[in-house]
Structure formats: structure tokens, C-alpha cells
């Protein structure tokens, strides 16, 4: 199945683009996706511990099973509204 992955902030800078397309086996989970990303983009490996993943704009756990056409986003640690 084909997945579109949006990449933000520190991860966007590491992969050098804001969107990745990835082909994964049917039934793959979020954890499999993260492993595959580390293979394709070695710069990411060792930096994925604090990563959160959203599918269709909702946070999901590593065991979440991905479906064809899912809109995936890699969410680095959040700093928005960190003021004062």
C-alpha cells in the first residue's frame, strides 16, 4: 500500500522535504513505518524516540494498523505556545 507522510519541523529538515511517499506491506503498523523510515532516511535513526505519529490528524499508538491512503504525519516534540 502507498502512504503519504507529512514531515514537520526538525524531521522536515532532516529528510530535506515536507512530504514522503512510502510503499509498505498491507497490514503494516506504525512501528513498521517508523522502522522503514529509518532505513530510507538514515539521518532519522536515533532521533525517533520522542516522535509521535498522527494518522488522519489523530494521534495513534505504535501498534496502530495502517490502511491504504492513510494520511500520516510525523510529529516532533511540540513547542507551540511555550511562552513567558
Amino acid at each position: 500500500m502507498k502512504l503519504k507522510i507529512s514531515v514537520f519541523a526538525i524531521y522536515r529538515e532532516m529528510v530535506g522535504k515536507n512530504e514522503i511517499e512510502l510503499e509498505l506491506d498491507k497490514g503494516a503498523a506504525v512501528a513498521d513505518l517508523v522502522r522503514e523510515l529509518e532505513n530510507v532516511y538514515p539521518r532519522l535513526s536515533g532521533h525517533m524516540d520522542s516522535l509521535m505519529v498522527a494518522v488522519n490528524a489523530v494521534y495513534v499508538e505504535p501498534h496502530y494498523e495502517l490502511k491504504d491512503g492513510d494520511e500520516v504525519a510525523l510529529i516532533p516534540p511540540i513547542s507551540g505556545g511555550h511562552h513567558g
Binding site: S6, I10, R12, P76, P77, G80, H82
Partner: protein, 136 residues
């Protein structure tokens, strides 16, 4: 009532959104780009958002606050893009019948925002830069 925008944001327009005759108090929070961060001199900030999800999360914060403090109204605006020192990055306005709920709900919204809303901040200092919240 929630907005993520590249354009400058002003408290007055959020106050106008929440103001109503049933309310006796309006609290606003304004987040401003500070000139210093952990001893470094900040040149400017860059805010980046996953806009679609961040908008949803801001709406969730409003709904959460409204279920905890009945009868309040809340508006939030977060600016993204490049911001200079002294510019406003975040405004929250909360109106309530009485001040205690307005203060509490405003504090709650600021705290929740930095936990769940996918907005990232990069600080550009003299001689370097870094994404805040990211500790390799």
C-alpha cells in the same frame, strides 16, 4: 473562534469574539517573542504548524475548557511563520460570568496548547539555531 495565521494577531479582535452581556470578566493571554533564551540572544523565531490538525486540537481545547468551566467563551489565535522579537505569537481570550473561571480556563488553555497542539518553534540566535522542545 480558533485561528492559525501568518498575519499579525491582535487581542482586541479576540475579545470582540467572546464578549457577551452574560459575561462579567474577560481574561486575555498574549505570548510575545522574548529577546533572550537560556542566555542566548534571540534574533527571530520561526513557527511551523500542521495546520489542519493544530486547528482541530485548538477546537478540542476550547471544548474541553467549556465542559470544565460552564458558561465560558474562548477564542485562540496562533501566529506562524517568521516572528521578530516583540511580536505576538499567541493570544487567548476567555470570557466568563465571573473572573475566577476566566483566569482558570485561560491558564488551562495555555498549558494544554503546548502539550497537544502540533506547532513547532525554531529559535534563531546569534551564531546558531534550534528547534525548541527537541532534545536529541
Amino acid at each position: 473562534m480558533v485561528e492559525i495565521t501568518e498575519d499579525p494577531i491582535v487581542a482586541e479582535s479576540l475579545v470582540r469574539q467572546v464578549k457577551a452581556h452574560r459575561h462579567g470578566a474577560i481574561v486575555t493571554f498574549t505570548g510575545v517573542v522574548r529577546e533572550e533564551s537560556e542566555g542566548r540572544r534571540v534574533l527571530h523565531l520561526e513557527y511551523e504548524a500542521y495546520k489542519e490538525m493544530a486547528t482541530q486540537k485548538l477546537e478540542e481545547i476550547v471544548a474541553e475548557a467549556q465542559s470544565r468551566w460552564l458558561g465560558i467563551d474562548m477564542a485562540l489565535a496562533h501566529r506562524v511563520g517568521r516572528l521578530s522579537v516583540g511580536e505576538t505569537s499567541l493570544i487567548i481570550a476567555v470570557a466568563a460570568p465571573h473572573r475566577a473561571e476566566a483566569f482558570a480556563a485561560c491558564q488551562y488553555a495555555v498549558d494544554r496548547l503546548k502539550e497537544v497542539v502540533p506547532i513547532w518553534k525554531k529559535e534563531v540566535w546569534e551564531g546558531g539555531e534550534g528547534w525548541i522542545g527537541y532534545h536529541p
